[in-house]
């Protein structure tokens, strides 16, 4: 059993115990059974390090999202544009999902399209730059 499988099962158990809020023995057994019975994705090219890094980035993204929210509330960002960002190498679908989640979670940026060739198209709001005429 690989480290990623263990991480996966721990996440499932965490959700189960949050949902039921019950640490009695039968509930632990049911939770374990469900966590092991739901199929795991068989092959994964990613490493545990990638997963841990992105989970950490998700935690960091929360205060950053609030910071950006206050920024666009107090200093209106009226300009918008689309930028492209390259997807990092060796990303499987789970990691790409979390990448898209991270970018879209912060209020200033939204992923508009994920390109199979390895690009995210990101829509972004920014402050208007005044033309000096």
């Amino acid at each position: 059993m690989g480290a990623i499988t263990i991480l996966n099962i721990v996440l499932r158990l965490a959700i189960w115990f949050l949902l039921t809020d019950d640490f009695s023995l039968p509930n632990i057994i049911i939770g374990m059974a469900i966590a092991f019975l739901i199929p795991l994705s068989r092959k994964s090219s990613s490493t545990l390090k990638d997963w841990l890094r992105i989970l950490w980035e998700v935690i960091v993204a929360v205060p950053q999202a609030y910071l950006e929210a206050f920024e666009i509330i107090f200093r209106p960002h009226n300009d918008e544009d689309i930028i492209r960002k390259k997807v990092k190498v060796r990303r499987n679908s789970g990691l790409i999902f979390l990448d898209i989640f991270l970018i879209t979670f912060t209020p200033k940026t939204i992923v508009v399209k994920y390109d199979e060739e390895g690009w995210y198209e990101i829509h972004r709001v920014k402050r208007k730059i005044r033309n000096k005429k």
């Binding site: 666009i72 960002h77 918008e80 989640f101 979670f105 209020p107």
Partner: protein, 95 residues
């Protein structure tokens, strides 16, 4: 102290809600509206639930789950809406 903090968070959340929802009736692009909606729906609602969490810590497990699902579903649906709104433009451009 905790009461003040929790009411503060709930008030911040409600301000976020109104701030993000009012631009919906303006005439900006769909994507621009999505940016302000992610402030109100995701971050505003999360602030309100955290405020509730401070008030009723006994129900922490369900409230934490609520915060997680709010973050995930709002963000993913925002992405889905952005994706849908942009693919049409692409098709028109190609023609």
């Amino acid at each position: 102290m905790i009461d003040t903090l929790s009411y503060g968070l709930i008030i911040v959340g409600i301000i976020f809600w109104f701030w993000g929802t009012l631009p919906l009736i303006g005439n900006r692009s769909v994507l621009f509206k999505l940016h302000s909606l992610s402030v109100s729906d995701t971050l505003g609602s999360m602030a309100i639930v955290v405020g509730l969490l401070l008030k009723i810590p006994n129900e922490w497990s369900l409230l934490v789950l609520a915060i997680m699902t709010l973050a995930i579903w709002n963000t993913v649906l925002g992405y889905v809406l952005a994706y849908c709104s942009s693919s049409n433009e692409k098709i028109i451009n190609k023609k």
